[in-house]
Symmetry: C2
Subunit: 203 residues, 2 copies
DNA sequence: CACCAATCTTTACATTGTAAATTATTCTTG
DNA sequence: CAAGAATAATTTACAATGTAAAGATTGGTG
């Protein structure tokens, strides 16, 4: 019973890096077919393994999605770090651009009912991204919040809400009518940058 | 074969208002158990009818959820109309408060992969809410957007993004740490009002 | 009353997630 | 190198879901 199929052939068992392969396949399907195409059977089928092959690596579907979302937050942190010492608008724009360029992943990262928010790795990655974002956003802006906002939490929430709202609305396609109506045609990213300008820096 | 159970008893067939009853049950389950408790079989079971009883009224599960989301947008429009001729902050606050007081419903209203956005009634209700919100937000604010924003679409997107982002983050529980850290304790709504103040009116 | 359309039920089936048991492979240790 | 243990993957089985199809029940209209 030597060979099984004409497939890769290396070794069916102990695939070696099935974990990263499953994450890769899942991510491709996520961006290609949307978030509710992320069925465990579909992912494993696409990867050429049996349905239960994911169990040793992720436990269950929720575990796999959590790992994928974790990866997303790690990449987001990287992206935020790249546009580093620059202005608030750059940090905000990096956030929004990451979202609209990875819409499925970004959606998954914030879909609390599909992942396990108490997972250690996830919590770590998310906290890191959030802390980094807050730090970048606050570096230029202690805006005119109410005097009771001693710690700056209100201002930080306001800044985060601005960029996050823009990201979510853009991903959901709800800004498309405004974009075309404003003459930006198919340059959504330019429109988003303009909207950010209108939001974060009216000092 | 007169009676069936000790239930309402009126008539098992031709329930009369099964449509509104199913929507009521679904909404209760939505807010009580979260959005992924909205299974067709669970809803019909809770309503005391067979699994396929929803078909004549909604077609399928997506149709039911779409009707529920439509109802949500109608209520949102009502809420926006109530706090009418007042300031932008009031309109924005009405939007955010509706969200945090109906978190499941609000989430469903914007979950494009669970509903049918091309449904006529849904489109009508959503457009009505969006138009009303834009009108309320724009009535006080032609803010210092770029000179190229002739139609005001950029400013409108910015304002919508602010309130929507605040709503989404609050519903997802992501603002909770900031709320407690800022000393607002369990008065999240006061925190949200403060954040809105910091966002929409820094003229 | 007879008929029809609408409403609801029953049955059946494909699909999903995953628990349990099994098999195959690799690693460890003598 | 030869077991034995540990890991990885498969197979099988089962409960739950959405819904298509066909049958049963009711109300309204001729």
């Amino acid at each position: 019973m030597a060979e099984k199929q004409t497939s890769a052939g290396k070794d069916d068992y102990h695939h070696g890096n099935l974990r990263v392969e499953l994450l890769r396949v899942a991510r491709d399907m996520l961006e290609a077919e949307g978030i509710n195409a992320l069925k465990l059977r579909a992912i494993t089928r696409e990867a050429g393994v049996s349905a239960m092959a994911a169990t040793p690596h992720f436990g269950n579907l929720r575990g796999l999605l959590t790992a994928l979302a974790t990866q997303g937050f790690e990449e987001l942190a990287c992206t935020l770090r790249e546009g580093n010492g620059r202005s608030v608008k750059d940090a905000g724009l990096a956030y929004v651009l990451f979202a609209v360029r990875n819409p499925g992943l970004f959606t998954l990262m914030f879909r609390g009912d599909a992942i396990n928010r108490h997972d250690a790795a996830f919590t770590h990655a998310a906290q890191q991204s959030f802390g980094l974002l807050g730090q970048l956003l606050a570096q230029t802006e202690p805006p005119k919040t109410h005097k009771s906002d001693v710690g700056g939490e209100v201002g930080q929430a306001a800044l985060w809400a601005k960029v996050h709202g823009l990201a979510v609305l853009a991903i959901d396609g709800l800004l498309a009518p405004l974009v075309v109506q404003s003459g930006f045609a198919d340059h959504q990213e330019a429109f988003l940058a303009q909207a950010l300008d209108a939001m974060v820096g009216p000092v």
